[in-house]
């Protein structure tokens, strides 16, 4: 029983941390978006993601017991304990990177949630059911921007292709099943990453074709974010994300 809970908590972190770190990256743009309208759109997405994280972490805290709360899970882990993929921690180099990162995540996130809706774990199924509409809109938003930039001016096309060339090799990590994900999938709680990958590559193909973008042929980046091994980017993210709780432990407002 305890072992099962351990895997489940672990799985919740894998699910939640992608949204947490991507939500944080988007929050960095609050007040800095390229236009008022895009600024608020990205902030909305960020808040949607944080909302999902809260549900996952409240559940994880409940399973963990003791002093754990959604906040301690979000704010008080060390870098090796974060379980997100490398894609979502990539920096906001320019708007094309923001959109590329968002699209490459949304195209994975939606089919993931579509499976989790049928999870044998009622909580996960409920969170997925709530998140799925948000995610559907995120994908609609990011793919329409992919098309607009990819099929836009020469410069926007060039920037979009550059961003995609950089980001695409990180997408393979989504589908490298960790031990936890295998256990959860076999238990009927977690998703089947193989079938998601088929959907994913098809979405990429369709949107890239419309956006006049080429699918990069670069080999996959060998990354182990889901096992807690991250790029140097995470240090900077955590320095900002955790600053208040590190400087003023247990502060509230």
């Amino acid at each position: 029983m305890e072992n099962k809970n351990k895997s489940l908590i672990d799985y919740l972190l894998i699910l939640g941390d992608n949204s947490l770190i991507l939500g944080h990256r988007l929050s960095e743009l609050c007040g800095h978006g390229p236009s008022l309208e895009t600024d608020i759109a990205l902030t909305n997405i960020s808040l949607d993601l944080f909302g999902q994280v809260r549900s996952y972490f409240q559940y994880a805290a409940e399973l963990t017991g003791g002093e754990a709360t959604e906040d301690t899970i979000a704010m008080k882990r060390v870098d090796r304990e974060y379980r997100h993929t490398w894609l979502v921690e990539q920096a906001n180099k320019d708007f094309a990177y923001v959109i590329g990162r968002q699209f490459l995540f949304d195209a994975f996130h939606l089919p993931l949630l579509e499976q989790l809706v049928n999870s044998k774990d009622e909580m996960i199924a409920a969170v997925a059911a709530k998140s799925i509409k948000e995610s559907r809109y995120h994908l609609r938003f990011s793919s329409s921007w992919m098309e607009r930039l990819g099929d836009g001016t020469q410069e926007s096309h060039q920037r979009m292709q550059t961003a995609i060339n950089d980001l695409y090799p990180f997408t393979y990590e989504f589908f490298e099943e960790t031990a936890t994900e295998k256990i959860m999938h076999e238990a009927g709680i977690g998703a089947n990453l193989k079938t998601i990958e088929t959907t994913y590559r098809q979405t990429i193909k369709d949107v890239f074709a419309k956006a006049n973008l080429e699918i990069p042929s670069a080999p996959p980046r060998k990354t182990d974010g889901k096992k807690g091994i991250h790029s140097e980017q995470l240090g900077f993210i955590l320095a900002e994300l955790q600053y208040m709780q590190r400087a003023y432990p247990n502060m509230t407002w």
């Binding site: 390229p34 236009s35 008022l36 309208e37 895009t38 608020i40 759109a41 909305n44 809109y137 609609r140 938003f141 329409s144 607009r148």
Partner: protein, 122 residues
């Protein structure tokens, strides 16, 4: 004499207002995006009402921006967007002939009927 001068200035002021107005409705932002007017139906059965405007490159983007800017607090169940240049506005300097003649025609209001007491909200 001074009074007359002031009277002469007034129409000019109105003309300026009008000029500003036409500029606004055809304005583009720094990135060359046209302005769109946004109409929201707050719930089924009610009419769409004008809620504001925004910049967008195309209709799809205008729709997404309208959703993100104007319905994030559950303000609506339906959105219309229309590019501002498609709206023909009345000219404020013609307000006199447009609207003043209705002022003294109280008989156009349906207030001369005897209504039964049971009728409410009329």
């Amino acid at each position: 004499m001074q009074k007359n001068e002031r009277k002469k200035k007034e129409p000019q002021k109105q003309a300026n207002l009008f000029t500003n107005y036409t500029i606004i409705t055809n304005q583009y932002n720094m990135k060359g995006n046209p302005i769109w007017e946004v109409f929201i139906r707050s719930k089924n059965g009610l009419e769409h009402r004008h809620v504001g405007s925004l910049h967008a490159e195309d209709a799809k983007m205008a729709m997404e921006n309208a959703r993100d800017v104007y319905t994030r607090r559950q303000e609506g169940v339906s959105i219309w967007v229309v590019e501002s240049k498609h709206i023909t506005a009345s000219n404020p300097s013609e307000n006199g002939e447009m609207f003043d003649p209705a002022k003294d025609k109280a008989y156009r209001h349906p207030t001369f009927y005897d209504l039964p007491d049971e009728l409410e909200h009329i």
